[in-house]
Symmetry: C2
Subunit: 249 residues, 2 copies
Amino acid sequence: MDAPNVPDVIHLASPCTSYSGRVTKRSEGARGRLSRDVIVACAIALADAEGLEAVTIRRLAQEQGVTPMAMYWHFSDKDSLLDGMAESLVAAVKLPEPTDQPWDEQLHGILAAFLDAIRPHPAVAGLALRRILTSPSGLALAEQALDLIRSAGFSDEWAAQAGSFLLCAVITLVGSQPGGAGHVLEGEARDQMLREKRAAMAALPPARYPNVLAAAPWLVACPDEDAYYALNLRLLVQGIKGIQPVAPA
Amino acid sequence: MDAPNVPDVIHLASPCTSYSGRVTKRSEGARGRLSRDVIVACAIALADAEGLEAVTIRRLAQEQGVTPMAMYWHFSDKDSLLDGMAESLVAAVKLPEPTDQPWDEQLHGILAAFLDAIRPHPAVAGLALRRILTSPSGLALAEQALDLIRSAGFSDEWAAQAGSFLLCAVITLVGSQPGGAGHVLEGEARDQMLREKRAAMAALPPARYPNVLAAAPWLVACPDEDAYYALNLRLLVQGIKGIQPVAPA
DNA sequence: ACCTGAACACCGTTCAAGT
DNA sequence: ACCTGAACACCGTTCAAGT
């Protein structure tokens, strides 16, 4: 915006903050190490910092000090880059070991593990929606969840339908957290947006929307993320428990 | 794809199928009737037919027999077009009248009404995620849902957190329905994609993924959409019932 | 009030070519 | 094996101008 017509070369040395917190420059030292994993990590870091719409083939190349077309050696197209990002997220899931706890508590553990993996990357989470069954880690996740659900007496059909929805619902949980999970905009602009949302709420006719106004503080922002996630995770587990077809032994 | 470099003029007479099923040509008869509502309806129809990524300022203008820049008279930018599409969806919600049924049954009715409104437009549903509280119809929806939830004894905070999640979860429900809710691709290509997904499943090691394989038929497609929606709607309502803080009278 | 024309800064992607 | 250069068909958007 500020500097139109500036050629790519200027930003060659831009650092690429990886999502684990480390910083990966490739201005001069690390030249020549351009791999799938590095690109994916950089793409995730970029999405975390500026939103998914900032993840662009050209921008990624610039961040790496490389020509846009170099990306096409490592990825057939942009969609497979997105696949890689999603796969990287679900690969980070730390699946709990099966125990002798009740099935619903174990299921809770699995969903919580999935949540923990995607929570740091709300802008990327949505990509996993239709990509869970395409990666080994996602399959392991689904396998373990389905195992528990079927052990509770659900038919194959119900287990499939409820199980896939539960995983998608966890993704939604992080993508739709009231505070606004997309851009993670900086302090100044973020405060401004919050002010505007609060003002819009305050302008509502109180006689018509008493309940919305009472809930407003938790609708415009998310003052306690942990509480939000804990509550709705319990909601999901209680939900599938509530439609359980047969009583367990 | 087939005819590159063809100027816009050629497709002037393209019909624009509105989402209610009517066809709105504007080749010669209806010239001059270009309004917000017509554009939004056309955009929704286009998204239904070819997916959200086909909804483009330029494509919309072409469909309307008009210059791309004409859109900017009616919408300040593309985002406000998207706002309009989302608002149109939630405006179609037919909210049930309050009754003397238990709160959870009434809440089920509200979520079902919301589901019915967005189900015909899976490609557009996701747009409503962060736009419910910005339109009168969305506010009415939230108001009624929050009213019921608070009447069940939930605190303002819990009602806000669970309520907003429930509405988002309904959106997810239509966006993540196993059959693939995005493009609605035509019979030929659709069958091919189903074949590929089934083949990928069949190629999995059966000893490692017994549960995924048992559930496979309902994971790759959605043979019974009604059952899918009914089951998971019940799951959501049972879920919030399951975390109810105090017993009702 | 409503629309056009020309232009700008972006996209993803292909294809031939370099090392 | 890995990357570059030039080109193509798209995007959203601005600005001045037409009627």
